[in-house]
């Protein structure tokens, strides 16, 4: 449900950086532990971009898998939710990746003179 607001943020940030140029492509990174559904972002994107420089742009979502390090034994384990249990039995995990929520790059149209 918060994906609409998140998508509006994406559109606002990209609009700012595009400086009036038509945007062709937007690449975002969404961590699998970030509580954001890529499908919902995709769904909102077309609606949010209407009437902006992003209208018609393609959205590419790079999903970053969750990785955590155990504080007790130092092992790195893959996680698909923001908590888990290490093989050593510890639940004290530091999340390394998977919480990303970032606009990586955009491609804008430029007319050459």
């Amino acid at each position: 449900m918060h994906e609409l607001g998140i998508t509006q943020n994406i559109v606002a940030i990209v609009n700012e950086y595009a400086q009036g140029a038509k945007v062709q492509r937007v690449v975002v990174e969404i961590g699998k532990l970030s509580a954001i559904m890529p499908e919902a972002i995709n769904f909102c994107f077309d609606i949010c971009t209407q009437g902006t420089f992003l209208e018609g742009a393609t959205l590419e979502i790079i999903e970053i898998p969750g990785l955590a390090r155990c504080r007790q034994c130092g092992a790195e384990i893959a996680i698909d939710k923001p908590f888990g249990i290490c093989q050593c039995g510890s639940v004290h995990l530091d999340i390394l990746t998977g919480e990303e929520l970032k606009i990586k790059e955009i491609e804008v149209e430029e007319v050459c003179v």
């Binding site: 449900m1 943020n9 509580a35 639940v91 430029e110």
Partner: protein, 288 residues
């Protein structure tokens, strides 16, 4: 793709200025002309007008092309920036701000009014109320005699840092006080938005499922403490307190957990003690 001629620039260096987000290309291209001649040239975007190609292919160069700009922007960056400003604002005024979150109906407002009434002679407390609609909760808080503003988010499902910034201008909480921010009833979205608070507190009532911590792990992981409310109803509901605590500690091993009833007053002293200690620590932190 090359800005001028459409050839691929994959192998070229890309210099990204992270301050402006702009990317500059310095191309070194190799073209094979129709007659088999191989030529190499280099240029950057700003040289296009002066750039003279000594071969016919220049005339069919693409007129419209894409330029990739590396942004590396946090999507919630703006919210986080305003939250940091709020945090500084609180610090400068020695105001301890707590962000209270729960699902709708867990008893945030009841716990809050009870807390204000019990502590109003020791701790000056003011409140920012967040709800989609109505000023009902703010009115309940107002009856306790404390300062309160209501933020209605309309369709929004959470408070964000800029709403708090605006709310603070209206509320103007006193120096050396506590600000309770009652977030919109929702166990999902509020976990993502930093408001500038000192701590997030999640409230869970025993009329809900004991597995809420693992169902909504983001919220329980983000919170420093959990207040289990309505414990006076435990004889009438099927709620396994021990299992709930285990779930919460599985998601957040550092989490502090209090069991209270705002109706009977059971367990409230531990919450008040935590709150008072938090204020003391925060104040010490300010003065040192």
């Amino acid at each position: 793709m090359c800005v001028t001629c459409g050839c691929s620039d994959d192998a070229d260096g890309k210099i990204t200025n992270l301050e402006t987000g702009e990317t500059e290309h310095n191309h070194h291209h190799t073209h094979t002309l129709p007659d088999g001649t191989v030529i190499t040239h280099s240029h950057d975007h700003h040289d296009h007008r002066n750039h003279v190609h000594d071969h016919e292919t220049s005339q069919i160069h693409a007129k419209i092309h894409g330029t990739t700009i590396s942004l590396e922007q946090e999507i919630l960056g703006k919210n986080n920036l305003i939250a940091a400003q709020n945090r500084g604002w609180f610090k400068g005024r020695n105001i301890l701000a707590l962000n209270l979150m729960s699902s709708p109906g867990a008893g945030k407002t009841t716990l809050l009014t009870r807390t204000i009434n019990d502590l109003k002679h020791q701790l000056p407390i003011s409140v920012i109320e967040g709800d989609q609609e109505t000023i009902n909760d703010a009115q309940k808080i107002k009856e306790t005699g404390c300062k309160v503003v209501q933020i209605n988010t309309g369709t929004g499902c959470h408070l964000d840092a800029s709403m708090i910034e605006r709310g603070l201008q209206q509320l103007n909480p006193p120096l050396n006080s506590v600000l309770m921010i009652e977030n919109v009833g929702n166990l999902v979205c509020p976990a993502l938005f930093d408001l500038g608070e000192q701590a997030k507190v999640v409230i869970l009532s025993v009329t809900e499922g004991e597995d809420k911590p693992i169902k909504y792990p983001h919220m329980f992981r983000a919170s420093e403490m959990m207040i289990l409310t309505k414990i006076d109803l435990l004889p009438y509901v099927q709620f396994d307190v021990q299992r709930c605590i285990e779930y919460a500690q599985q998601v957040n091993p550092q989490m502090q957990i209090f069991q209270v009833s705002a109706t009977t007053g059971a367990g409230l002293d531990t919450w008040y003690k935590w709150l008072t200690a938090k204020v003391m620590n925060y104040s010490n932190f300010i003065t040192t």
